[in-house]
């Protein structure tokens, strides 16, 4: 009886061992893997340090986020915020209503055609259209100022339709 039980232990140990060896054969142990990426492959300097930046807690600083989009484009002779820009406006409104200490300036711009002062007033109309949209979504007036650069600070130089379209724009500046 005693011999039997001893035998059982030996047997199970053997089985166990064999099971273990099966595992070791199929998967390389992690230790071995690490040594595998060591200087033997045309590897990086083992003393090099690479940086990981943690995700910012402020979504405003996420370059991939919707808040990174801050330009609203307008059609020729138009001062209406197009539906394409609704998500952008809504995202900034959400951010501003939850971050009441943040303030923005909305800068309106026009293309180069026509007089300086009239264009300044038209650029103002574009900035005001964005301001009103944000206001309707609950953003406080004290957080916003709508100003105009008219045609004085064109982003795109040149006198063709692509340049003019780029300059018919309002920018949200935090």
């Amino acid at each position: 009886m005693r011999i039997l039980s001893t035998l059982t232990i030996i047997l199970s140990s053997v089985l166990l061992f064999s099971a273990c060896s099966t595992v070791t054969l199929d998967e390389k142990p992690p230790v071995e893997e690490r040594t595998g990426t060591a200087p033997t492959t045309n590897g990086a300097d083992p003393r090099s340090v690479n940086t990981i930046t943690t995700q910012s807690s402020d979504p405003l600083n996420d370059p991939q986020g919707v808040l990174a989009k801050r330009s609203i484009y307008f059609d020729l002779d138009s001062y209406i915020v197009k539906d394409d820009f609704r998500p952008l406006i809504e995202a900034h409104a959400r951010y501003l209503t939850t971050n009441k200490a943040r303030k923005i300036v909305i800068q309106g711009n026009t293309d180069e055609r026509g007089g300086s002062e009239y264009n300044l007033a038209l650029g103002q109309k574009r900035a005001e259209a964005v301001r009103k949209s944000l206001s309707l979504l609950g953003v406080a007036e004290v957080q916003m100022e709508a100003v105009s650069f008219g045609k004085e600070k064109p982003k795109a130089l040149g006198s063709d339709e692509p340049a003019w379209a780029e300059n018919r724009r309002a920018d949200i500046i935090y």
């Binding site: 026509g114 300086s116 002062e117 009239y118 300044l120 007033a121 103002q124 005001e128 100003v147 600070k153």
Partner: protein
């Protein structure tokens, strides 16, 4: 040593040339219907002054388009005996003679006479003593006197202009004589400057500067360099215009949402809203009598020019031709209105006779902006483009006389003609 001396001269020559390039260059095209032939003899002793007085007089009169200069190699002092018949036979209806002398206090004493060779009479005589740096002004004042005596209208050569230049990233508000010479920089900035406006006494200029990342209206004293903020309200502040008595400014502010016209004291106090429309109202300009304000509004869709009383009330529409009329400027006599109209995609200078509603196009350029009358009402200066570069153009109100002011480097824009000065 001689080599070094010559090189020194060459360098001085180069410096002079560089200064000259910074000046505006005048190109004249078109002349008046009836030009008065006039001979201007050299003034005795004029080579001692920093500038040749008679060269300034000749350039002024030629630029006006109203005179034909009869060339003469003569030098004649104002006390010389004149053979009128001789000058008449040389084709001159008028003759100018004079002298320049240095006074003990360092000033130059310039004396001149204007003679009518047809009637063998003296039309005018002046004696002007001025410091060396005012030699140019003296020349312009004599040209003004000749213009007035022969044309019957006060001359505006001794007036000044203000305009904005852009060279690289630098914007400059510059002041120059009406011929573009004698430039001075009043303001330098890395942000845009627009809409300069002279105070009626010619001592101050109001303008819009973007130096605070938004348009703000300032008044700058040109002599003392003191600067006052006229309007820095929430939103945009722009389009300053002086009342004829200098006691008020009209400005366009967006503090209420839509851009509207307000009246304000030059120190920023006493703000009062003038227009209250459901569209834009901007570019205010006082009428010559100060009783009305002309302005641009898009209340009917496109921009048109309107007029309303400075005490309030309804606005009347003034322009009806074309769908885009902006930048109203009233003539000094209040009888004409200059403005920019867009027709077939061209932005051009027009003038409207307010007494009979007759409209005339005055330019054949296509990107015109910022008109302003000379203080005698005879000419309109405006900004236009030449080879993708901003230049200034001048046209007589009848459209016959034209000239242009250009710089070698950079753009010139936003011109405004200053008032008569003492």
């Amino acid at each position: 040593m001689k080599q070094l001396f010559l090189r020194g001269i060459a360098i001085i020559g180069l410096l002079v040339a560089t200064t000259a390039h910074a000046q505006l260059r005048v190109e004249i095209s078109g002349v008046g219907a009836n030009q008065i032939p006039i001979a201007i003899a050299g003034f005795s002793g004029e080579t001692i002054a920093p500038q040749q007085i008679t060269a300034i007089i000749k350039a002024d009169l030629a630029r006006s388009g109203m005179f034909r200069i009869i060339e003469t190699g003569d030098v004649m002092t104002e006390t010389a005996t004149v053979n009128f018949g001789d000058w008449k036979s040389r084709g001159a209806d008028a003759l100018v003679i004079g002298s320049v002398q240095r006074l003990a206090d360092g000033r130059f004493d310039v004396r001149y006479k204007l003679l009518d060779t047809v009637r063998s009479t003296q039309l005018s005589a002046l004696a002007l003593a001025a410091l060396p740096q005012f030699t140019r002004v003296t020349g312009h004042k004599i040209a003004d006197d000749i213009y007035e005596k022969l044309i019957g209208v006060r001359g505006a050569f001794a007036t000044r202009i203000a305009y904005v230049t852009k060279v690289g990233n630098e914007y400059r508000l510059e002041i120059a004589d009406s011929d573009g010479e004698g430039t001075h920089i009043a303001l330098r900035s890395n942000e845009p400057i627009i809409s300069p406006a002279w105070s009626p006494d010619g001592a101050k200029v109001a303008y819009v500067s973007f130096e605070n990342k938004k348009p703000v209206v300032y008044v700058q004293d040109l002599v003392t360099r003191q600067r006052a903020v006229v309007a820095n309200h929430k939103g945009s502040n722009s389009a300053p215009a002086w009342s004829p008595d200098g006691s008020k400014l009209a400005v366009a502010l967006s503090r209420g949402g839509l851009t509207q016209i307000y009246l304000v004291n030059p120190d920023g106090s006493g703000l009062r809203q003038l227009t209250n429309t459901n569209g834009i109202a901007t570019e205010p300009q006082f009428s010559a009598d100060g009783q009305h304000v002309y302005f641009t509004s898009d209340r009917t869709g496109g921009p048109q020019i309107y007029r309303m009383s400075t005490t309030g009330g309804e606005a009347q529409r003034v322009t009806f031709n074309g769908s885009y009329n902006i930048s109203p400027r009233v003539s000094p006599d209040g009888k004409a209105l200059a403005y920019i109209s867009r027709r077939d995609g061209r932005f051009q200078l027009y003038v409207l006779d307010l007494t009979n509603s007759q409209e005339q196009r005055l330019s054949d350029t296509v990107k015109d902006e910022s008109p302003s009358f000379s203080p005698n009402g005879k000419y309109i200066m405006y900004a236009t483009e030449s080879g993708r570069r901003g230049t200034l153009a001048v046209v007589s109100v009848d459209g016959r006389v034209k000239h242009r002011l250009t710089t070698q480097a950079g753009d010139i824009r936003e011109p405004t003609w200053g008032p008569f000065m003492k």
